[in-house]
Symmetry: C2
Subunit: 439 residues, 2 copies
């Protein structure tokens, strides 16, 4: 981008002018940072950062901040096209509709874009970054993944000297809140869900949280950077936390594990595996010790080993902090491709589903009659699965719960074994199977 | 730096040429990254990264890598001045002597500098960064603090939107190894020290590790970035781990604490406080849970809250990863002042020693006679210190150990109380006093 670079250099002393679309908690937090820390930001960026205009659904809403110095636009697209902005800050959310329209309009109008919108980029990131590249503009999205944790920067820049081997993360605070409340307060899933709902933690469509979709969007973004591939949310294997019971949490704890909604992305011989699903992790690991709404991302590289990042994954201040970091990067003249490498050169990854073997936790209800356990063990053996630990722990009149921890196996073999259980006629209902991730 | 920026832009497609001084574990690790990941680095940086020449003490030593493609220089200064290098990579170590000479020579010759040298920058960082700025060149030092953890980047860039309120860190893996071995294996300090020595974990001058100097260097560098002040290692209050006993580790554990060599920097109303000293931290906190040689840095900002970063603080791969990240940043055209703001504008911080109050752990040996405890409590009261918890826990013929946890107090008041203990004539020897840091 030689022309761009030159004009950016020429403007180095002029303030960087923002148009902010969306004045919810994050937008409000951003305005507060700029209003209260103007001198500090100028000292760090080497130039001022100013707001030219803002846009939101309601102009009259009291947001507790003074917006009188900024022009108002009812239409985000109009805001994105204003001559007096250099950077369009998209904080509206939504994978399509106004957020997408305005982002496209901003790029077409020659603006850089800073966004907190994980859904937009997980679904349209490749096309948008190609468009930005062709226009010589940037899209930055630190705030889209794990809130205030500077994980996009850590992965794209801080670990740029590594071949990344695995990326993991607990990146939906609401799910981690629900799981830790079940664990610590003995609530059922529904009770913990209702509590989170009452606290306003859930998205308007709760399935975005508890179905793993929101966290899956984030994982897809991290995977694209980590492995130099086109972002591909559709290839993320998604499993939510709705089927997790206290029983499983208790039994897992008893064996030294916690259950987390864990995202894992790794490149395998068969392609890129991206999973967002409940997993057992050792309770002594940083991931296992993560409580409440906090997020954690684990980055693994061939040189650096394992890096763990922990912090607030949501909220006004933390998310605005990430947005502001992107803005200051632009003010400082840092110009990187959206996903760390030119978008046009990114290849589409072959999706490898359930490729990496792991031990599994299995809980099943066994008919109480002689030979039942042997039949289950036999079905596992036929699928090539060996047993690490097994125990039968409670009992009612007709059946008994059995816990099995397998040695490493694939999800495919496990599904085969579970199908085999059906034929034995000694297993009641559907067994619970949860992967045990080595973290 | 407009001229620099223009010539850098013109060279954007040309490879970035390195001269590497120092081929110990880090230098060797860096050469390996460049040799094995050339294509990946080029894809990420947008240009190649090549090595023109290297330098080290011994040319003949077998380092397990092929150096035949690179020119050899016996003299690091000559290497730094070569026409065919763009970046001088200083991996020799040492706060003065060849490392300083060569770094100054590199800047004078118009080279950017990447260094892993915490001592050099902690002592001469201000002068070197002014010199670099005047020459339009960069000094980057991600590898100097906490090895592979991208903490310089997280603080300088990732949290640039925050007023930083506190920086903490366990940044000397050897000390943390010794303390966790004492804790887990019941070794005495000397036994754990000898074990670490046998494993090659200690510096040639062990006091750099166990005296807190090495970690203090790192803290001073972080503080300069965090608070926009001139790096000032002399103002770091240093206390090593040599006086920590198993007794204290055991008693601390019993109360729910771990003892860590913890660095803390924060801006107070009375100036910048920088401490590197043993502290008690809650055993459930991320810092308390840190085992062995791993490092952890905690960054706190007004918007982002608390960010925790964890990873390998030393070793060939992790440190080389950090060096490579700096090199790729330069190759990508990122040009920031050494400490995040122009060095000429950095102010010298007023040093505030022991300004921030905290609870303290006190262990003292009390003469076994009536009224002794009352006299100790009286001395504390006279210094304005109130007691949170107290217990007398063992006993020999003439004296008994007593543990006291105070409410928040200053180190100055505590020293006054300890002086008061002397006058009571009921305290044997010198009391142990360890700060309890709220983390």
């Amino acid at each position: 981008m030689p022309d761009t670079a030159k004009s950016d250099a020429a403007n180095a002393a002029a303030p960087l002018r923002l148009g902010i679309a969306g004045l919810g908690t994050v937008g409000t937090g951003l305005v507060q940072i700029i209003q209260t820390h103007g001198d500090l930001m100028t000292a760090r960026a080497g130039r001022g950062v100013t707001i030219s205009a803002v846009s939101a659904r309601s102009r009259d809403k009291d947001r507790g901040i003074d917006l009188s110095a900024y022009d108002w636009e009812d239409d985000a697209v109009a805001l994105a096209q204003r001559d007096d902005i250099d950077v369009f800050v998209e904080l509206m959310g939504g994978s399509d509709g106004p957020a997408k329209d305005a982002t496209e309009a901003a790029i077409a109008a020659g603006k850089d874009v800073v966004t907190a919108n994980k859904a937009l980029l997980a679904l349209h990131g490749q096309a948008l970054s190609v468009a930005a590249e062709e226009a010589g503009r940037l899209i930055r999205f630190e705030a889209a993944v794990a809130g205030g944790i500077p994980v996009i920067k850590a992965l794209t820049e801080g670990l740029a000297g590594n071949e990344i081997t695995r990326v993991m993360g607990v990146m939906n605070g609401t799910c981690n809140y629900i799981l830790t409340r079940m664990e610590n307060a003995g609530l059922t899933y529904q009770q913990a869900f209702d509590e989170a709902d009452g606290l306003g933690y859930l998205e308007a469509d709760p399935n975005l949280d508890v179905g793993g979709i929101d966290a899956g969007h984030k994982l897809a973004l991290l995977a694209a950077i980590a492995f130099g591939t086109q972002v591909d949310f559709d290839a993320v294997e998604l499993e939510g936390i709705g089927a997790i019971t206290i029983e499983d949490i208790t039994q897992a704890a008893d064996m030294g594990y916690k259950i987390k909604l864990l995202g894992v992305a790794q490149m395998t011989g068969r392609g890129l595996e991206q999973r967002m699903s409940p997993c057992l992790v050792p309770d002594t690991s940083p991931l296992g010790q993560l409580q409440g709404g906090t997020n954690m991302v684990v980055l693994e590289g061939d040189a650096v080993g394992q890096i763990v990042l922990r912090g607030a994954g949501a909220g006004s201040g933390p998310t605005a902090s990430a947005v502001m970091a992107d803005i200051i990067d632009i003010a400082r003249g840092l110009r990187l491709p959206t996903f760390g490498q030119p978008a046009k050169g990114l290849r589409a990854a072959r999706a490898a589903r359930a490729a990496v073997p792991a031990p599994y936790y299995l809980r099943l209800q066994l008919v109480d009659k002689p030979g039942a356990l042997a039949k289950v063990a036999g079905a596992l053996g036929e699928a090539g699965i060996s047993i690490d630990r097994m125990r039968q722990y409670g009992h009612d009149d007709t059946s008994a719960p059995v816990l099995i921890v397998t040695h490493k196996t694939t999800r495919m073999a496990l599904d085969e074994a579970i199908e085999g259980f059906g034929k034995t006629r000694v297993v009641h209902g559907t067994p619970v199977a949860i992967r045990i991730e080595a973290v």
